[in-house]
């Protein structure tokens, strides 16, 4: 019996005989539910991801049984309605658990073209491929989508697949010195929308230099992405290339050596072999060679110490060679000598400003070379002959990014010393903020302490979509300009973005914002797509309004455009003049140079400048120069005597310092040492502006002298007897000190990898732990551990990342105890041309494999319709869980309401009919009467549950109990719970009852 009890609780006996009509709601609902669910699936309206949830249908009979067994106390119709709602609730719950997904069916085709941009394709073939793409795109049915991915060593999305194909020009930049087909196909396939049938059209020569595309084909096949291939075929029968230029590893001044050129050719031929030393031809000879490898030796003679770069080239007669790019090999020799000082000046500067310094350096027994910024080397290896580089008031815009990076690398990797002197074109006013040089210096250009420093505000209007890669340039120059500004200076960008905003589509990409938030602004700049501006009026008005709200002391606007938007009104220009906001106009590609009058006029009237660069590459320096106009406030023209902040060998023997007449505001970095500082003023006692600060940066030492050492600010110093001693001690402190070691570093490239070999020539042999740090041409660094391959010989290899120069620093530990500074050897090599130029024929076999394994087609240049292959409508689903949840949430209160709420329909009818006040009163009277009857019944002892009322509106009078029960003692005093418990006990005692 005990075992049956829980079963009886779950399935209590029916209170009345079951009939077919009572079973009908269950059967009908089950039928409906099954048909509904199967129908939804069959018609493709919904898909259920978790079908085991439908097993819960088994609950429905139990619910029905409980409903029949226990009863609801409702009228028959009401009870059926309640049961149906309960069924619906459970049905909805089952559907919810089955994870329904709405189905969308589409027969549209999405095609992503993947265009090989690598060097082996060549400009002409790329243009022909683009023409083919344009031809095929125009045959596209309107609903089909087309997109474009370009690739080389890496891949980028030029246009995502859309119904329209708004191709202007290729703006994406990919590394062209390699081909990674796998990466390209992976990106192209990822761009295909799930809801459409997708195809990738691969346009390439099939010469894969990176990755393994075959490994990805199965994944593409499983995703249903077919790859159609348009093979680009070529084959060179005659090809000549220089494999290597071998130079002597150890050289001495005044001796003769030989350089060896290793040349390869597919056929017997002849040509002119040249060898250039630092750009000057030192050897030229007509040579003949057979097919295969040929070796030629050329004489070398080194007259003085220094850095020598050699370039061997072979010039071939027309028709005798395929690629011309691979007819070059580069190598270098560094002949160590006495360290030099390189003084870098502005080409427009006055030599009298740095002559006293040059004299002082020469007096310090230093060899000094004075060069303009234009002549500054572009790679760090070329700076190896210099122990110290001094920037004497040379502005950042006189260099390019590569030059500044070379200096930074020379300091960090080669230990070259660096000193920046102050002046109107130095530090912040010189545009070095957030540059590679600032990274190397012991001071930042952000002036954080000087709260009263007047700030500037700059609004930039971008109309750059009308020249090739214009918007790419726009992003770059905007970042360059912001980079120059101080942290407190404000900057805002305005562009036309059709369909957005309330100003005819002109919007702030970001409103005037402190330039210190540079990192936050960069993503906004990168996401901007400036459109074709119809007029200057609206964006200039927008910019002026923003600038007028700013509390900046200096306000400036830069507009870059092709010059053909409608001009601003004279009234607006007057507003600019009244608000003292200057406008500089940069005309780029102004329709043949004709549409410049408007821009010239605006710049002239508002006191700005007008630029007409011939090439977009000039834009960064223009924007840096313009942004610098807001930085004049960082120049402090005042007389002061520097105070010693921290003792240093630089001040050895110096007790009194003469006065200086000005300096540039900077902020010392936390780890740097301030040797001299500006005395704090009474107004700002907490402000400590550095005059001389130094720190270690990588292997080198750098110093910031924020005043100058010439007649402008250091007039009193020039006649000072300790001037030369000061300069000597300063240069000694920061110049590189070369330490002889016993390591010899040999580096070279072979195929796709670089080799680093270190030979140990120490007197005492020891096992060394050597690690080579390799800095690649794209700024990447790699630590390569070297393993011993023979006595005193260590070697390691690393993968090349393309064309360019590789700097190698090998550090050896293990000799002379743990505290010994590791010995270092510096070297490197250059990869003169991309490995793409070592492909002399295309690879159609690979391309055929790609097409076959993915179910694609091999296309030809004459195929123009690629949009009509046999199609299979593609289904895509999205979860509709939320909608079912809402339905369930509505059913839940309805389920309760159906059982608990009794609607008086006569009352509702009464609301909408006239003269029913009496009926209403009668109804209320009936309700009150019912209430009284219920109350009376509750006061009576009950023996069994009363039968359900036949009608809610007219409840029958309660019947007296069929069998009088014995009144319980103190029944009135017992609570309801106590009464129920007592009744339960009684039932247990009498199970027959």
């Amino acid at each position: 019996m005990k075992l049956l009890h829980p079963l009886r609780t779950l399935f209590p006996p029916a209170r009345r005989a079951l009939t077919l009509p009572a079973l009908l709601p269950l059967l009908l609902f089950l039928l409906f539910f099954v048909v509904f669910c199967v129908g939804l699936e069959w018609r493709g309206v919904l898909r259920f991801s978790y079908r085991p949830a439908f097993a819960l249908i088994a609950v429905l009979p139990w619910v029905w049984w409980m409903h029949q067994a226990i009863g609801s106390g409702l009228s028959r119709g009401h009870a059926v309605a309640a049961l149906c709602v309960r069924f619906a609730l459970i049905g909805g719950f089952i559907l919810l658990l089955a994870e329904p997904r709405a189905v969308r069916r589409s027969d549209a085709l999405s095609v992503v073209y993947a265009l090989d941009m690598s060097d082996s394709m060549g400009e002409k073939i790329r243009d022909q491929s683009l023409s083919w793409i344009m031809q095929t795109v125009t045959t596209k049915p309107p609903k089909d989508e087309a997109g474009l991915v370009v690739f080389g060593r890496d891949a980028a999305v030029e246009l995502p697949p859309r119904a329209s194909f708004p191709f202007e020009a290729i703006n994406s930049r990919v590394a062209k010195d390699g081909t990674d087909l796998g990466k390209a196909l992976s990106l192209a396939a990822a761009m295909l929308p799930e809801g459409n049938e997708g195809r990738v059209v691969l346009i390439t020569d099939g010469n894969e230099t990176e990755g393994n595309v075959l490994a990805q084909l199965d994944e593409l096949k499983s995703r249903g992405v077919a790859v159609d291939v348009l093979p680009i075929g070529f084959a060179y029968e005659k090809e000549v290339w220089i494999e290597r230029l071998d130079l002597p590893r150890v050289v001495k001044m005044g001796e003769t050596y030989e350089a060896t050129v290793l040349l390869s050719s597919l056929a017997k031929s002849h040509g002119t072999l040249r060898l250039q030393e630092n750009g000057k031809t030192i050897f030229e000879k007509e040579i003949e060679f057979d097919a295969g490898k040929s070796r030629f030796t050329l004489p070398l003679y080194l007259r003085e110490p220094g850095y020598y770069e050699y370039a061997a080239t072979i010039e071939m007669p027309p028709g005798e060679d395929g690629w011309k790019e691979n007819n070059l090999a580069i190598g270098d020799i560094y002949l160590r000598g006495e360290g030099k000082v390189l003084l870098v000046t502005d080409a427009r500067g006055d030599a009298r400003d740095w002559e006293p310094l040059v004299e002082a350096l020469k007096a310090a027994e230093r060899i000094v070379q004075v060069r303009t910024a234009f002549e500054f080397p572009r790679d760090s290896a070329s700076l190896r002959p210099y122990d110290l580089v001094v920037f004497a008031n040379a502005p950042a815009d006189a260099f390019d990014v590569v030059q500044l990076q070379a200096l930074r690398d020379a300091v960090y990797n080669h230990g070259t010393g660096f000193l920046m002197l102050g002046g109107p074109q130095s530090f912040g006013p010189g545009g070095y903020h957030r540059s590679a040089v600032e990274e190397a210096l012991p001071v930042t250009m952000d002036v954080q302490q000087k709260k009263v420093l007047p700030k500037g505000a700059l609004a930039i209007v971008l109309h750059t979509c009308e020249f090739a890669e214009g918007n790419t340039w726009a992003k770059r120059i905007a970042k360059e300009a912001i980079r120059v500004l101080g942290a407190q200076d404000e900057v805002g960008l305005i562009a036309f973005d059709w369909g957005k905003g309330n100003n005819n589509g002109y919007n702030w990409i970001f409103p005037l914002t402190p330039a210190g938030q540079y990192e936050k602004l960069v993503p906004l700049i990168n996401a901007a797509e400036p459109g074709d501006m119809p007029d200057f009026q609206t964006p200039m008005q927008l910019g002026l309004t923003g600038l007028q709200k700013s509390d900046a002391a200096m306000k400036h606007m830069i507009v870059i455009s092709d010059g053909d938007p409608s001009p601003p009104t004279p009234a607006l220009l007057q507003q600019f003049i009244a608000a003292k906001v200057s406008v500089s106009m940069v005309a780029i590609n102004p329709h043949g140079g004709q549409d410049i009058s408007i821009m010239q006029s605006v710049a002239q009237q508002t006191g700005g400048r007008y630029y007409f660069p011939q090439d977009p590459s000039q834009l960064p320096s223009i924007f840096i120069k313009e942004a610098k106009t807001l930085k004049r406030s960082m120049l402090q023209n005042k007389v002061f005597t520097p105070e010693v902040e921290f003792p240093s060998p630089v001040l050895k023997g110096i007790e009194q310092l003469p006065a200086l007449r000005g300096y540039v505001l900077t902020t010392v970095k936390p780890r740097a040492s301030t040797i001299l500082r500006v005395p704090p003023s009474k107004d700002e006692p907490g402000q400590l502006d550095p005059v001389l600060a130094t720190w270690r940066f990588g292997l080198g030492t750098t110093a910031a002298w924020t005043s100058d050492l010439g007649p402008a600010w250091a007039q009193d110093w020039l006649g000072w007897e300790k001037y030369r001693a000061f300069v000597k001690q300063l240069t000694q402190e920061i110049s590189r000190v070369e330490q002889a070691n016993d390591l010899r570093l040999i580096t070279f490239a072979t195929g796709g990898s670089g080799t680093v070999t270190v030979e140990d020539f120490a007197k005492d042999e020891a096992f060394l732990e050597i690690t080579a740090r390799v800095a690649g041409p794209r700024g990447e660094t790699l630590d390569v551990p070297l393993r011993q391959i023979g006595p005193r010989r260590y070697q390691g290899q690393f993968p090349l990342s393309g064309k360019g120069r590789y700097q190698v620093i090998a550090a050896a530990a293990g000799r002379g105890g743990d505290n010994q500074i590791p010995e270092q050897a510096i070297g490197g090599f250059a990869v003169p041309y991309s490995p793409e130029y070592l492909n002399f024929r295309s690879n159609p076999i690979l391309l055929k494999q790609i097409a076959e394994r993915t179910g694609g087609r091999l296309l030809s240049a004459t195929t123009t319709d690629i949009y009509h292959p046999p199609r299979q409508p593609r289904e895509s689903t999205r979860p509709v869980f939320d909608w079912f949840l809402i339905v369930l949430a509505c059913l839940l209160p309805l389920d309760v309401a159906v059982r608990r709420v009794q609607l008086d329909w006569s009352l509702i009818r009464g609301w909408f009919s006239r003269g029913t006040k009496k009926e209403s009163t009668e109804t209320m009277g009936a309700l009150l009467q019912c209430k009284q009857q219920v109350k009376n019944a509750l006061t009576l002892p009950r023996t069994e549950r009363p039968p359900p009322p036949s009608s809610a509106a007219t409840p029958p009078p309660l019947k007296p109990p069929s069998k009088p029960t014995k009144p319980e003692p103190d029944d009135a005093a017992q609570s309801t719970t106590e009464r129920l418990l007592a009744r339960k006990r009684k039932r247990k005692d009498d199970p027959q009852r």
């Binding site: 243009d127 344009m134 125009t138 329209s164 191709f167 119809p534 409608s566 001009p567």
Partner: protein, 306 residues
């Protein structure tokens, strides 16, 4: 209770009326037909149409960003095409077709108006860079009246309308640069109807009305109501249903306006799908009341029927 129900009913009724009125003000037009015409590629580029004009025999003439004149038949097939004489400085932006088949083009960046015969043979130019009568600074839009007099609008600080005979003889000029009444900032499109010239004043976001003799009539808008607000209206055309259609470059939409200035409805918004436009530049209407929109950024010509 009855009062409550009555009040609720009244509130709902009023709200519905207001909603209906608002809906009527900006009634959405529905395109019954929507066809897309593609322009042929030009080498490695895919040019896009800027200006459109209706020609004879159902032909549609288009100017594109490659500096080509393209003549489509009524089914969207390119029948003839030729290049402008010179395109290195800039591309043309206005076109009209005369009854005798000659094509007249505003060669915007060369500050001149060029005549071609129906086959694309160059016939003549008028004008040069200047502000005098018969000279131009950026001629950008052109239309003709019933007598085939030509009206050319220009911008670039000398914003005005010039009127010529069909052979290019100067007749009149009117309007000036500015934001005041009778002034323009980049008048970019114009249409003639029943003695009136309707000019889209793009930067001032309005449509100005002149008599074809050059007398200022007013702004396009219903009597007693403020002028209709547009978002960079670039072109305008009159349909055979005697209503005006304005294409808005900034908003990416087509507006239908009665001749007395009531806004009858609008179609589209910025986008690239069906019923959407991206920087639409030119508009023309053929005799079958098909509207052709140069949907510039989407690289397509849309032929639609309302």
């Amino acid at each position: 209770m009855r009062r409550v129900i009555a009040s609720l009913t009244a509130i709902f009724t009023i709200a519905a009326c207001v909603a209906c009125r608002r809906d009527a003000e900006t009634a959405a037009l529905i395109a019954r037909e929507w066809q897309v015409w593609q322009l042929p590629p030009e080498g490695a580029t895919l040019p896009t149409a800027r200006s459109l004009a209706t020609g004879n025999d159902g032909e549609i003439a288009a100017l594109d960003t490659a500096g080509r004149v393209l003549i489509f038949n009524a089914d969207g097939i390119v029948k003839r095409q030729w290049h402008m004489l010179d395109v290195s400085v800039g591309k043309p932006e206005g076109i009209v077709v005369l009854k005798d088949g000659r094509v007249v083009v505003c060669d915007t960046h060369y500050h001149r108006v060029v005549w071609f015969d129906a086959q694309g043979q160059w016939l003549k130019n008028i004008g040069q860079n200047g502000a005098r009568d018969g000279e131009f600074i950026y001629p950008v839009g052109i239309c003709k009246d019933a007598n085939e007099n030509l009206y050319v609008c220009e911008y670039g600080g000398n914003d005005r309308i010039q009127k010529f005979t069909r052979e290019g003889q100067w007749l009149a000029s009117f309007g000036s640069f500015g934001t005041g009444p009778e002034q323009f900032q980049r008048p970019s499109g114009l249409a003639w109807h029943d003695g009136k010239i309707f000019v889209t004043d793009a930067v001032n976001n309005r449509v100005l009305i002149y008599s074809d003799a050059g007398k200022y009539v007013g702004l396009l808008g219903a009597s007693g109501q403020p002028p209709i607000a547009f978002n960079l209206p670039y072109d305008i055309a009159v349909g055979s249903d005697n209503t005006l259609y304005v294409i808005e470059y900034g908003a990416g939409r087509l507006s239908r306006v009665s001749l007395d200035g009531r806004l009858l409805g609008r179609l589209g918004h910025a986008g690239s799908g069906e019923g959407e436009f991206a920087t639409p530049w030119g508009l023309t209407i053929d005799s079958r009341m098909r509207l052709f929109v140069a949907d510039t950024k989407n690289r397509r010509i849309v032929a639609l029927k309302l």
